[in-house]
């Protein structure tokens, strides 16, 4: 029997990659996706429907009528990635509520996998500097709390419907074509770094994030998994790898720095400041074993790919060239 797959957040880079992988699978029957922006890559079989999550009733009606058997929930929006922090939290909440309730009402639901993040663990501390899935989440930022809320709402589906539910807690996904506040910040000519600390952070390659989601669907993994690129890097090291200039910042000045950097074109959300000041890693061994992710791209390779991406160079139009 083939699956009826619904991909929320399909217009984003990661959602589109998942759709491209899913439509190649023999088990995938009908593949549909929703988002408020269209995908920017070619899809062969998957069908996209443009629905803004803020139009909750329209989204719910569509999902209920489609009656998916598998939901890949990428409709989880990172603040300062493609929209303001307030819009991101609002869209994430509305998309999750409408999708999960309507999918359950559809009557065919068998599995749900949701995008979450290491941000749910909060700042790294002596309690757990490399948290595994058994560590109790204690988010301290709006994005971390938003992710934990999504996990809770999806866990409700497990309770009510008795279906397996998987939460993939991604390390920050960074890539040349992925709108990411961390990636944007690291590509600035001058990068703010903590003055008296250099905590490690891990990253995840966009392709690996999509592979992990498809593997979770195929293996019907029930529970939370950390998906983390091997190894780590530190803020000072990242600055040197990218040939950027470090701007040492001490505690009280982070708020001011974030405002100045926003004017320079890279808004820094609180979870990004938390990552730079306290680090962000996780133990990803369980996901490697359970999902067979043997070839994850190392964190420092993800960073190098980001820095090797060419700068945007304005090319004069033909009219300007003639003039």
């Amino acid at each position: 029997m083939t699956e009826r797959v619904l991909i929320t957040g399909m217009g984003g880079e990661l959602g589109t990659r998942v759709a491209q992988l899913v439509e190649q699978r023999a088990w995938a029957g009908e593949v549909v996706g929703v988002d408020f922006v269209p995908p920017r890559r070619r899809l062969r079989r998957a069908v996209f429907h443009r629905i803004d999550p803020r139009d909750r009733d329209k989204l719910a009606e569509f999902v209920e009528n489609f009656a998916p058997s598998v939901v890949a929930h990428f409709g989880v929006y990172e603040p300062a990635s493609r929209m303001s922090p307030a819009s991101a939290v609002e869209r994430t909440e509305l998309c999750t509520i409408a999708t999960m309730s309507a999918a359950a009402r559809g009557g065919n639901l068998e599995f749900v996998v949701v995008r979450s993040g290491l941000e749910v663990y909060g700042p790294l501390s002596a309690r757990a500097s490399v948290p595994d899935e058994e560590v109790v989440p204690e988010p301290r930022t709006p994005y971390g709390r938003s992710l934990l809320e999504v996990e809770s709402m999806v866990a409700g589906v497990r309770l009510r419907q008795g279906v397996p539910v998987c939460a993939l807690r991604y390390a920050p996904v960074v890539g040349p074509h992925v709108p990411s506040p961390v990636g944007r910040l690291l590509r600035l000519p001058v990068v703010p770094v903590p003055a008296f600390a250099d905590p490690p952070f891990s990253l995840l390659h966009p392709d690996d994030s999509a592979e992990a989601m498809v593997a979770a669907i195929e293996r019907r993994y029930d529970g939370a998994l950390n998906i983390v690129g091997p190894g780590a890097a530190t803020p000072w090291q990242a600055v040197r790898l990218g040939g950027r200039l470090p701007l040492p910042v001490v505690g009280p000045f982070w708020e001011l720095t974030s405002r100045v950097v926003e004017i320079a074109g890279a808004a820094i959300a609180p979870h990004v400041i938390e990552q730079l000041r306290h680090g962000r890693t996780g133990a990803g061994g369980r996901a490697v074993e359970e999902l067979g992710l043997a070839h994850l791209v190392p964190t420092q390779t993800v960073l190098r790919e980001l820095f090797e991406w060419a700068d945007v160079i304005p090319i004069p139009t033909s009219r300007e060239a003639v003039a």
Binding site: S129, E134, H205, V228, A232, A233, R240, A283, T301
Partner: protein, 229 residues
């Protein structure tokens, strides 16, 4: 994707085993370029390789029972605690010389700057999740016992870490300074003992079984200390 695989091979540096020595000039250049591995605990093996000749030239170590230390895979090395400053370096040198592996040491201080430096050199925090994650990553982890009166005996093992330790081999070790009255004038003595065996069947959730397990670990270290005396 060729770029990724090429760079990926360079990144897949072994943070567990000691590799070939990088010439000093190359090592310094790599530090300046930021081209060195770091693991999720903040461990910087490249930095350790740079500073270790300094320690080995100052600290002399005699090792016995090195055949008990696993050459691959996760294991806990449970050690008595002296005054605490030189022991981690002594144990690290002993492990490096015996099995060419890098040692992670439980007990990173939760203090800014100092804690960061300790983590760079291989310390991890004394928390069960970090112990679990470190062993799951296949590392060799040193766990100091609680300090004792005059710091001459084997203290009790840290109870919160016992459950995390139960899933990997446990090697007891006695670390004592070689000079009179506990001074380090003569070489330090490091004696590794045979693996500690757990009660069979062992249930880490059972407090009584955990207490017996803790005693077995302490007795193993105490036995080695008596042999040293």
């Amino acid at each position: 994707m060729n770029t990724v695989s090429t760079i990926g091979d360079r990144d897949r540096l072994d943070v567990d085993h000691v590799g070939k020595v990088v010439p000093f000039g190359d090592a310094v250049r790599r530090r300046i370029d930021g081209n060195f591995p770091v693991d999720p605990f903040g461990f910087d093996p490249h930095l350790v390789d740079l500073v270790s000749p300094l320690f080995t030239s100052v600290i002399r170590v005699d090792v016995e029972g090195g055949e008990h230390v696993p050459t691959t895979g996760p294991a806990s090395i449970v050690a008595n605690r002296g005054f605490g400053l030189a022991e981690p370096a002594v144990l690290g040198i002993a492990v490096r010389r015996t099995v060419a592996r890098r040692l992670r040491i439980v007990g990173a201080p939760s203090v800014p700057v100092l804690g960061g430096i300790a983590r760079r050199l291989g310390a991890i925090s004394a928390s069960a999740p970090d112990m679990r994650s470190c062993l799951r990553a296949g590392n060799l982890v040193a766990v100091p016992l609680a300090p004792t009166w005059l710091r001459t005996g084997a203290g009790i093992p840290p109870r919160p870490l016992l459950q995390a330790m139960a899933n990997a081999p446990i090697v007891p070790v006695a670390v004592t300074p070689g000079g009179p009255f506990g001074t380090a004038i003569a070489p330090w003595h490091v004696r590794f003992g045979p693996l500690v065996t757990l009660p069979d069947p062992y249930d880490p959730e059972d407090p009584l079984a955990a207490a017996r397990f803790g005693e077995a670990v302490r007795d193993s270290v105490a036995g080695l200390l008596e042999q040293q005396a």
